[in-house]
Assembly symmetry: D2
Homo-oligomer: 283 residues x 4
């Protein structure tokens, strides 16, 4: 059984040893191991991908969580196969309703075989959608939309979320969140073609570059500052010369972006693709 | 009547005066005027777009060509409307047959309303296509594929070409050729999405960037080193993670590129778009 | 005598004809001619560089200004040699005092042989410097620092300014201002190495790229959106790994930037370099 | 004592376990651990940085090398402090003599406190320099300059090299070599400013961008395709507008590049900087 373990702590020296010691003692084979540190803060992380036969997942999880508590590490143990038939999604939203709506409809219609565990917002805009689809709603934003990142992680843990879907969620996740849910669990929708248009205004930038092609990108977020974008799916549309920018943006937001996100989430949830050493590979 | 005049000469001082003097004397209104120089060589150029009523085109042309001969300038006078119903195309080729084939079929089927005046190659690969479609064939390459650029211009002049279609023609046109046929007369097919992938190996570069979107760009060539690409049309296709590069290239070359070029040439020939102050605008 | 003429108007059809007609009638030789248009607005411009012998500058200027008034064009006639011995500078400022101070000291000490005609600010920060050096001070900013761009041009005209020095002036000049003072008259100080770091936070971007080299760039502003940066001078300094960003910024702002601007302005004012067909060339 | 262990093998599953098992059994504390894989080939690598007290280095080395032989892994054990007073350098060369000459002179003059263990070339051009300084010379190139990369690694091992200095060595090291000598042991001289000008012709590219600043970069090579450049030192020089490209290249090659490399090697050898989680930090 494949298990992905993440650990986050304040120190790079004591981070790896107790976890690795426990796992190798239980006969685990290490398939991938990475350590990260964060430039500016005293924040270190480890990702372990192991193969483990013969030990119950629940036992490994509680043992590692106990090590975490004892050593002051934030530890998570995740097995992709545990709920592979119907993984649990958190859908994170800000203002735009089309991407979360499209995902919820695709779940309802059986196109995405998953459970919408919770809808999280740093704005209230998508609350009605949660009610409409009967999904738990959690507001993590303050009056200015600043997000309580710690509460988001607590909600992901509490709702036993397999995958985090950033459905035009307009806040940058802090490195610690990315590390805690590392290993191909955070799926982002970017409203431009990556890596060419990475900024906050990709429609404007592609328009200024006089492009006639506009696109959206669904990708895993990988917890490294320098990392490329791990692309799961891209969807594009083409305009004719003279098309106005606001028409282009409307086409992109109302049609192309939601379509892109649904197909990307479907690929991950169905197991067609996964993250392997920082790359998206077909299974 | 709109007339586009280009002049190329060795000196920037004597380039503009005699031509402008003649034209303003004939009552022309100047709509656009540009002068260029080439960094490394003593080579200067002027583009004039004028509105002229009451003077016959043939007379203006012969008068300006006489000025050119007298002053040592290479002068061309072109009126887009002269053969607007059925403009004459030169199709320039190297190895790949799909793009020129697609253009010739689109002409045959009435999708592109134009005349294939001549097919030019710096390699012999597309000679059979010229024969098949009964179009004049001209070989301008030597044994290594190096092109005789002066002969290309002579052929364009001799065949009274309105638009030059670079159908995966793999040589860079020298600035002097671009200037002589400036004003929106040279249509290029680039086998990558511009401006993101401008190089000689755009499929490889997009693949190395882990993109899932691949595209082709049909654009005017503008005779300035720093100029952006004046995009007429872009066509894209999307792959799934794990698709092999050679499969992607095959898809692009056999389907996407020819389709892109045909639509681009159609837009220009039908008068849907034109070049206006370095930009492609809808008419 | 070399004369640079700029004309700005709402229409591209009537822009060039009356000016060119007058000049060729006076026996001018056209050395360079460019027309620009602005993407979003109905705003067109022409730059003419001519050689004119035998006609007094004052007469040409008043004739062309009369044409401008009659035709609704904003026309300017400038001869670089008119005040070549001691050209008149406008020094534009926002918050930072070091760059304008360095230019004023270099003028006082004879390193820059020019006249400080006026100091313009969109903030009050540099008013004291103007008083200290006895130079006219003009405030063009509102309470938020938004600049009255039309008043800036009126001040440049009124003070008969040869060169506009943007000494960490933090507002973007509108295209119309750039066109009115085109031809190598606007000198900007950018606080990063161009073209690599063009944005608003070049120190932060170079630091994020883990560079150890930081620089400033003194360049002409050319009135085209796509144009490259016409570099007059660059000054750099190097740090060791581990140097803090705020120490780097301090070094750059207090020492490297002012030094860069002074040498750049000196090169232009002394006639060592000039703009020629969008390029900086040594005279 | 800090020890850096690298292991390279054909499989990611059996790579980490035996080494980690041995080390944790000996009481090592893991300070950093990374696993890499190579896109196109079945080639995996691990980097371990550990703190080990109480176990003799020689014993650890022979134990791990024995594990490597048994498991089919290529294992290296390196302690930076072992020869910290006078580390052993391999200087790799192609055509240009200035950079290796400058390093050898700096060693002779005591500026760089190191031992030139061996000079390696894929061309014969620097053989005379090796003879002049009495350093072992090894030729690894064939008639076309193609390098025998396996022989290079064998030579580095045989000469017990601490740091590999690429002194304008014009071949790309294969990932397996970078992984085997990972951890801050490979120092490269790039003849352009990184990350702005990464290509093979950085002088030409900076010149084409109309820059007046040219530079060289001394950096660690890190065995990841996506990794940024780990910059140890950068040296620059500035030219005036109109300086010819070949004069710029000559200035760079004869003065700036050698100076840059000497200071960079000095910083590493003296222990002023080191690689820490993919970043260069001051000690």
């Amino acid at each position: 059984m494949q298990i992905i373990i993440t650990a986050v702590g304040p120190d790079h020296v004591g981070l790896a040893d107790p976890i690795i010691h426990y796992l190798t003692g239980r006969g685990a084979n290490i398939a991938e191991i990475q350590m990260y540190d964060h430039d500016e803060e005293a924040l270190f992380a480890m990702l372990l991908r192991i193969e483990l036969a013969g030990a119950p997942l629940a036992e490994v999880r509680s043992a590692l969580e106990a090590i975490g508590q004892q050593k002051g590490l934030s530890v998570r143990v995740w097995a992709p196969d545990e709920r592979a038939a119907r993984p649990r999604l958190a859908i994170c939203t800000t203002f735009r309703a089309e991407p979360p709506l499209a995902v919820l409809r695709a779940i309802r219609d059986g196109q995405i075989k998953a459970e919408a565990a919770v809808i999280i917002g740093n704005r209230l805009a998508c609350r009605g959608i949660a009610e409409q689809f009967g999904v738990a709603w959690e507001m993590i934003g303050d009056a200015d939309g600043a997000a309580d990142d710690e509460r988001m992680v607590a909600l992901l843990d509490q709702h036993e979320v397999d995958y985090v879907v950033l459905a035009r969620y307009m806040r940058v996740l802090p490195p610690s969140t990315c590390w805690k849910y590392a290993g191909g669990r955070i799926i982002n929708l970017h409203h431009g073609l990556l890596p060419s248009f990475p900024g906050m205004r990709p429609y404007h930038e592609a328009y200024a570059a006089r492009m006639l092609t506009y696109g959206a990108t669904c990708h895993f977020i990988v917890p490294e500052l320098d990392a490329g974008n791990q692309i799961i799916h891209q969807a594009t549309f083409t305009t004719t010369p003279g098309t106005r920018l606001d028409d282009i943006i409307r086409l992109g937001q109302e049609d192309n972006e939601p379509r892109c996100l649904v197909e990307g989430v479907r690929r991950v949830v169905s197991g067609e693709v996964r993250l392997h050493f920082h790359r998206v590979v077909a299974r």
